[in-house]
Symmetry: C2
Subunit: 148 residues, 2 copies
């Protein structure tokens, strides 16, 4: 089995797209993360839902969660306030999460090896410079464990 | 809103349960990970699907994915072979992934702060020493972004 046969569609957002829309997509589809592409559609990174959550919490509260009690504003106020007008790029900045790429004709063992080595739950499948889909760790297990 | 109102059910496996059954659960439900509990039902860790994938790939292939081509056996043979008779504990050993805990009466801001500080996509909600559910990062975004 080749990577192109394993690949599945996955929500993609552009680096310069709206961060609030990306957060809503994560929330509505209950996804752990989104694939982030550059202007040419080439995958650059993953935007994990936990990174967006980080963005909603003031730094002093991240450092000491017991201070969360002093926040009187609601999370909804904060979410709209902090994400409005921002890009996905700015939410990612600092710590972009790597999205490894494999080739469409790589075998299932090659895909598993990349995933295993980089400890990542998602890889992008590329064909002639174009993203054709992703393979998640659970998809790989599904294929590895299915009867031949 | 309190953590107990945010918590959702999530698949849980015991440290001493069968690793192959856990892998099948990840595959069938297409989950990024499972919550792992000890004998008393207390959450200890998360078993990420990518950790199970790592277990299926020989170390020399992890170190150099180009060697994946020399493997002639199928992933299905390897999966059954490597996981049969193993426990979840043995697959986790080496690098357990932390599962932070929050209290049932913690607020949404406190839960977000823990998630943000530890950069984790999942927290366990505890009430009197018992796991009552989990909150994922995407669930938290859903609640933070929903109209009041």
């Amino acid at each position: 089995m080749r990577a192109c046969e394993m690949a599945e569609e996955y929500p993609v957002v552009d680096l310069d797209s709206d961060a609030l829309a990306a957060a809503r997509l994560l929330a509505e589809r209950r996804l752990p993360g989104l694939v982030v592409t550059d202007g040419s559609g080439c995958p650059q990174s993953v935007l994990p839902a936990s990174q967006v959550v980080r963005f909603l919490v003031p730094r002093y509260v991240c450092d000491d969660p017991s201070l969360a009690g002093v926040l009187t504003e609601s999370m909804a106020d904060r979410a709209a306030d902090k994400l409005a007008g921002k890009t996905v790029r700015s939410v990612l900045s600092g710590e972009p999460t790597e999205l490894p790429r494999v080739n469409a004709d790589d075998t299932i063992v090659e895909v598993a090896a990349v995933m295993a080595r980089l400890r990542c739950p998602l890889v992008a499948v590329m064909q002639e410079g174009t993203l054709i889909g992703v393979v998640s760790a659970s998809r790989l297990l599904e294929l590895a464990l299915s009867p031949r």
